[in-house]
């Protein structure tokens, strides 16, 4: 009796300890980089990478919630990022002269970006989550592409009479001469205030981690993982499958929206193209998740950081960047999931053996 209680407490601590280590790694990495930057010992190239790294970490962690914890493959993650980016950039550009305190304006923009992405998450999630596996993957991809497509035909202008919308061109906005174009179709939004900083990115990572890790280690997280492991059994014990799938999907979309807000406020011009909001981007985020280990949150962070830094730092490598990603994907999947590879690992390598010993 006492032994099991002790056993229980020690493993509960183990989970918390694991999460604390993850927080510690993130905080330490931030402290080191911030010190290096403030002492001027970091190249401007590397310094410029700090916000993008934060963006990718948030994207990878949030996608892992769907791929690793819910167990469904979403290939539309960049679409939610796109929604967050455009909604918040639109707000910031409109409010640039109204709200002059940068941080207040950015926080409001952040909330708007997150809310917009969450709404899209719910709207897309309700139909999509009725599907599963390959179909779910391809439909999320389709939705992501549709979002990117829609943004590219969106024109919004503002003049004394208010807002004008069109899906054709600037002329069709039919504005007074004093009007300004805010969203200009394929040219996107220009003149977004550059409010995103490394510190803000770092804080957003911590918030993302807090939400995701605490969600996983709660009743809701257990419900989500039980659906992943066996949907029919989960239903049989009274777990509302639709509700929890939608919850995981929406939280993930909202966090991707936050990453989009950071992205939009790190550039002066925001456009939607294949490389930033297309499925190429979604797949790149997936590479981070796979390399870090599906379902492993800390792994996602580390993979996102390394895979963003490496090609930029080793310039010679940048031509081969995507090629390396491709090979990483294939090799990781074969190594981690092929039955024969698993057998081989259990035979020759230490890890994977531990659990079995615990049983005997």
């Amino acid at each position: 009796m006492q032994k099991t209680m002790k056993n229980k407490i020690s493993t509960m601590n183990k989970n918390t300890r694991k999460n604390l280590i993850t927080y510690a790694i993130v905080i330490a990495a931030f402290a080191v980089m911030q010190t290096l930057i403030s002492t001027g010992s970091v190249s401007s190239l590397l310094e410029g990478l700090m916000v993008p790294i934060c963006i990718y970490v948030i994207l990878a962690v949030s996608l892992n919630l769907v791929v690793g914890i819910l167990g469904e493959l979403s290939l539309g993650h960049a679409g939610f990022m796109c929604v967050g980016a455009f909604a918040s950039a639109f707000f910031s550009k409109c409010m640039r002269d109204v709200i002059t305190v940068d941080i207040v304006r950015f926080l409001l923009a952040l909330l708007i970006g997150i809310a917009a992405a969450a709404v899209f998450g719910i709207l897309i999630g309700i139909p999509v989550l009725r599907l599963k596996g390959d179909y779910l993957a391809i439909v999320t991809l389709a939705f992501g592409e549709i979002i990117k497509n829609l943004v590219n035909v969106l024109y919004i202008g503002k003049d004394a009479n208010g807002f004008h919308f069109s899906t054709k061109d600037v002329m069709a906005l039919d504005m007074e001469p004093d009007g300004t174009v805010i969203v200009n179709g394929p040219q996107g939004i220009t003149g977004t205030p550059k409010d995103a900083t490394f510190l803000i990115g770092f804080i957003l990572i911590l918030i993302t981690l807090f939400i995701v890790l605490n969600l996983i280690n709660s009743r809701d997280g257990r419900a989500i993982m039980s659906i992943r492991d066996n949907r029919i059994a989960a239903e049989s014990i009274g777990i509302n499958v639709t509700k929890y799938k939608l919850m995981a999907f929406t939280v993930s979309a909202a966090l991707a929206g936050a990453a989009g807000v950071l992205y939009a406020h790190n550039l002066s011009t925001l456009t939607a193209n294949t490389n930033n909001f297309g499925y190429n981007q979604s797949i790149m985020i997936l590479v981070f998740v796979v390399l870090g280990g599906i379902g492993n949150i800390r792994g996602s962070i580390i993979a996102a950081v390394i895979l963003t830094l490496l090609p930029e730092l080793l310039r010679g490598l940048s031509d081969y960047r995507m090629l390396i990603y491709a090979i990483v994907l294939i090799v990781m999947m074969l190594f981690n999931w092929a039955p024969r590879a698993i057998e081989w690992r259990e035979k020759y390598l230490r890890f994977g053996r531990k659990k079995k010993e615990a049983v005997q």
């Binding site: 791929v67 167990g71 493959l73 139909p127 009725r130 599907l131 596996g133 390959d134 179909y135 993957a137 391809i138 439909v139 991809l141 389709a142 939705f143 592409e145 549709i146 497509n149 829609l150 590219n152 035909v153 899906t167 029919i232 797949i283 997936l286 796979v290 599906i294 031509d319 081969y320 995507m322 090629l323 990603y325 491709a326 090979i327 990483v328 994907l329 294939i330 999947m333 074969l334 981690n336 999931w337 092929a338 039955p339 024969r340 590879a341």
Partner: protein, 294 residues
């Protein structure tokens, strides 16, 4: 007149989708996997034909045969190295993610070898086509040949699957892998054969696609590949006539959408079709519904 010409263009594009969709649908039916890299095999096929014609100066027919040969081999090699080890993996996501990796690999190898610049693809069809209604309706040779080739392939494939020994083995494997094995069918060989046929068709599709739209880049195959998958789902995945009908319908929808709604939204319209089909009739037009056993 423009309506008819759009319709014919739609059928031509749809024929290419149908040929690509066949590869998806056969592989899906038998290996129960979405071969994400299928679209990129098309691109490799087109490059092979291009090099054979422009660099080696071969006649188009030889160039096509070379493209078909290379793609067939490529399809079998991909299956053997990347997919077969994962056939009994505990997660079905594993093989899908691997397929995405293979797709990226093919694109980026092509990028390194052939460069990012678009190359002009010389049409393999020398025939000028038909001019009807006193010159008001012009149908290019590529358009007609594409539709005819698609019809021939479809007829040949249906005959093959229904009548030949290997075709029957394919149907058996797609019904029940375990039972097929017990009946003495070479399951691995049958799956490899399916990939070989699908990839050979992809090469043909690549040449036809680039003859009609003569700009070739390493990304040429990706979007048509995904759209062809949409076509396969539309028609009912696993069904050969379904791939044909789905492909034609999708081609027509795309061309009409481009012409009458918005050229920028054409892709979005195609994807919207996919979403609607999957939500309203998940098994597609001609597919079978499968229920999970409890």
């Amino acid at each position: 007149m423009s309506f008819i010409s759009y319709l014919i263009n739609g059928l031509s594009l749809g024929s290419v989708y149908a040929i690509i969709a066949l590869g998806y649908t056969m592989v899906y039916g038998i290996a129960k996997m979405l071969n994400f890299a299928h679209g990129d095999v098309i691109m490799i096929g087109a490059y092979m034909a291009l090099i054979s014609m422009t660099q080696a100066g071969m006649p188009p027919i030889i160039a096509i045969l070379i493209a078909v040969g290379v793609c067939t081999l490529l399809g079998v090699v991909i299956e053997r190295i990347a997919y077969k080890p994962l056939r009994n993996a505990s997660s079905s996501l594993a093989v899908l993610i691997t397929a995405i990796g293979v797709s990226y690999l093919l694109q980026n190898v092509a990028l390194l070898v052939f460069g990012a610049n678009a190359q002009t693809f010389p049409s393999v069809i020398k025939w000028k086509g038909l001019s009807l209604a006193g010159g008001k309706l012009n149908i290019s040779g590529e358009t007609i040949v594409t539709i005819v080739v698609c019809l021939i392939i479809m007829a040949a494939l249906i005959t093959f699957v229904q009548k030949s020994k290997p075709g029957q083995a394919m149907r058996a494997v797609s019904e029940d892998k375990g039972a097929a094995q017990l009946m003495g069918i070479n399951v691995n060989g049958t799956i490899a054969l399916t990939f070989a046929i699908g990839s050979a068709l992809a090469a043909v599709a690549g040449v036809l696609l680039c003859s009609a739209y003569p700009s070739l880049t390493p990304y040429t195959g990706a979007l048509p590949g995904i759209k062809a998958f949409v076509a396969a789902v539309f028609g009912g995945i696993g069904s050969i006539p379904g791939a044909f009908i789905g492909g034609l319908l999708l081609g027509v929808i795309e061309i009409f959408g481009r012409a009458y709604i918005s050229s920028q939204m054409a892709d979005a319209i195609v994807f919207a079709v996919l979403i609607i089909v999957l939500l309203v009739k998940p098994a597609g037009l001609l597919g079978k519904k499968i229920q999970e056993k409890v």
